[in-house]
C-alpha cells in the first residue's frame, strides 16, 4: 500500500471543501422546497409574468448583442488602429463593474435628468421603469461577455485564409460570411452562451434602472428577491427553476463545443482577454 503524502491530503481536503461549498446551496434549493409544492408555485402569476419578462427582454437583448456586436468585434479584432488597446479595455470595463454601479451609470446616461435624458425624452421615450430599460441594462452588463470573446475569436483567425479568399475573388463581405464567421463559430458560440447566461441572471443594474414592476420589468431574478419577504417558498421554487435552466444552458454549451471541435480545425480561446 503506497504512502499517502501530506501534500496530497491537503489537496484533496481543499477540493472537497470547495466542492461542498459550491454544491450545498444548490442542493438546498431542492431539498428545502418539497417538489410537489415547487411545481404548484410555478403556477403563480408572479412567476409566470417573471418568466415572460425574462424571456422577452433577454431574447431581444441577445439579438441586438449579436447583431451589433459581431461586426463591431470583427473590426476591432482584425484592424490595427490607434487607441485599439484602449477600446478593448473599455469594452471589458462593464465586466468588472459592480452591477449596481452599472445601474447608476445607466440612470445617469439615459434617465430623465441624465446625460442623454433630453434626447431620450424628445424621442418620446420614458425609459425608467420600462421593458426597454431592462433590455438596455442586460445589453450593457452581458454584452461585453460576447464582445470580448468575439474579438478574441476574430483576432485568432489566420489572416492568410482571409487573403486567400480575397485573391480568389471574394469581397470583404463574402470573405467574412464564408470564411471568418464559420471558422470563428465555436468561439462566438461560447461567448454568446456566456452572455445569455449572464443576461438571464442580471439583477443589480436592472433593479436600479428599470425597477421591479411585475409583468413589466420584473425579471425572474427580481421576482426571487421580491418573493423573499413575501413567500419564501415561491422564492425557492423560482430558484430551483433557474438552476435547472442554467444547467441546461451549460450542458448545451458543452455539447455544442464538443461537436464543433470534432468537426472543424478552428482554434478558439474560451473567455480570454484580447491582446492589445
Amino acid at each position: 500500500m503506497s504512502r499517502v503524502r501530506p501534500f496530497t491530503i491537503i489537496l484533496v481536503l481543499a477540493a472537497v471543501l470547495a466542492l461542498a461549498f459550491l454544491v450545498i446551496p444548490i442542493v438546498a434549493l431542492f431539498t428545502e422546497s418539497p417538489p410537489g409544492q415547487t411545481l404548484s408555485h410555478l403556477d403563480d402569476p408572479v412567476v409566470k409574468d417573471a418568466l415572460i419578462v425574462t424571456a422577452k427582454t433577454n431574447l431581444i437583448a441577445f439579438g441586438i448583442t449579436l447583431l451589433v456586436g459581431t461586426p463591431a468585434a470583427y473590426l476591432i479584432g482584425r484592424r490595427r488602429f490607434p487607441g485599439r488597446a484602449l477600446v478593448i479595455t473599455l469594452v471589458e470595463l462593464p465586466l468588472v463593474l459592480p452591477p449596481a454601479v452599472a445601474g447608476i451609470g445607466l440612470l445617469a446616461a439615459f434617465g430623465r435628468f441624465g446625460l442623454l435624458g433630453e434626447e431620450v425624452t424628445a424621442l418620446g421615450i420614458d425609459l425608467a421603469f420600462t421593458q426597454l430599460a431592462v433590455i438596455l441594462a442586460i445589453i450593457f452588463v452581458a454584452g461585453p461577455f460576447y464582445l470580448r470573446q468575439a474579438i478574441a475569436s476574430f483576432e485568432a483567425l489566420d489572416e492568410d485564409l482571409i487573403l486567400a479568399a480575397r485573391t480568389l475573388g471574394a469581397g470583404p463581405g463574402r470573405a467574412f460570411w464564408r470564411i471568418a464567421l464559420p471558422l470563428s463559430a465555436s468561439g462566438l458560440s461560447a461567448g454568446a452562451a456566456l452572455s445569455l447566461a449572464r443576461g438571464i441572471g442580471e439583477f443589480g443594474a436592472t433593479i436600479m434602472f428599470a425597477g421591479s414592476l411585475q409583468g413589466v420589468t420584473q425579471t425572474v431574478t427580481l421576482a426571487i428577491y421580491d418573493a423573499l419577504s413575501v413567500d419564501f417558498d415561491v422564492a425557492l421554487a423560482i430558484g430551483s427553476l433557474l438552476v435547472i435552466l442554467s444547467a441546461v444552458v451549460l450542458l448545451a454549451l458543452k455539447l455544442l463545443l464538443h461537436w464543433r471541435s470534432s468537426d472543424s480545425t478552428s482554434t478558439f480561446r474560451f473567455a480570454t482577454s484580447s491582446s492589445a
Partner: protein, 316 residues
Amino acid sequence: MLRAIAGAVKPRRGYVTLGGRPLYDSERRVNLPPEDRGVGYVFQEYALFPHMTVRQNVAFAGKERVDDLLARFGIAHLEAARPRRLSGGERQRVGLARALASGPGVLLFDEPLSALDAHTRDRVRSELFDLLHELDLPALLVTHDFVDAAALADRVGVISRGRILQMGTPAELLAEPADAFVASFVGSNMMTGTARRLGAGRVEVVLEQGAVIHATDGPDGPVGAVVHPWDVAVGGDEPADAGLNRIRAPIASITPDGGRVRVRIGPLIAEVDAEAARTMELAPGRVVSATFAPAATRLVPLNALENGTPTDDGGR
C-alpha cells in the same frame, strides 16, 4: 513583396502592373483590392479552408473549371476530404488547383517547397517544373533556396534588404555573381581580401587570412574572391602546379551530398566525388591542399556589409 502584389499591403511608393493593367500605382492613385487583381496566390502553408472539402475549396472562385482541375492535378479522389487529412504534397496541389480556378493572370508562390519534407520536395519540384511550363502563365516564386530557384525559374532575382542585387538566368548568376552577397547565396565560395593588378591578365589578391592567390581579372581594392566548390581540387603534399592557386589547411568537416562530398578546407569548400574522397582517405583534421585555377577565380567588389536575410525570387 508577394502580399503587395496581391493587394494585402500597400507599398509607400511605386507601381504594380499586370499585362499593362495597373494594379497599384502611387502616382496615379490606383490601388485595386485583392479580389479585382486577378492574381493566383499559393501560400507557404497553403491556407486551405479547413471547414470546406477539397472540392469546395477548389470551387471557391467559381464552379466551372473544378472537375477539370481536380482531374488534372490528380486529386479528384480526394474531393470529399477535409484539408487536415491531406499530405503536404496533396495540399499543395489543392492550393494550386484552387488558385488556378479563378483564372488568374499571374501565379504567386510563397516558398512553394519549404513546407515539404526532402523526399516530397524533389518530386514536387519536378512536378511544379512541368506544370509551370505547361501553363502559359507568368509565375513569381519567392524562395530562400537557390537550388529551387535555379530548377524552376527562367530568370532569378536576388533581393537583399529590399533591393535587387542581380537579375539574370541561374547560369548567369552562378558564372558571374554581381557581388559578394549573390556569390555566397548561389553557393559559391567567397573569400575576402585585397586585390592589386599586376599587369595584363594577372591580379594578385592577398586574402584576409594571409594566403596569396591570383586571378586573371578583377578590380583593385577590397574584393571577394569567388570560386565554385566544384572548381576546387583536393590534394595532399605533392608539389603545387605553379600556375594554380593553393591553400593548405586542415579539413574542418566533410559533408556527404548525394554522390559527392563537400569538404571544408580553411575558408573554402571543395566538392569532390565520394569515391575520390574515400580513395584519398580524407578525414577531418588532416592537412590537405585545396587548389584552383586563377581563371576559375572571379573577383567581385565588396559592398559594405550586406547581411540582410537572403531572399531570391525566380520568375518567368
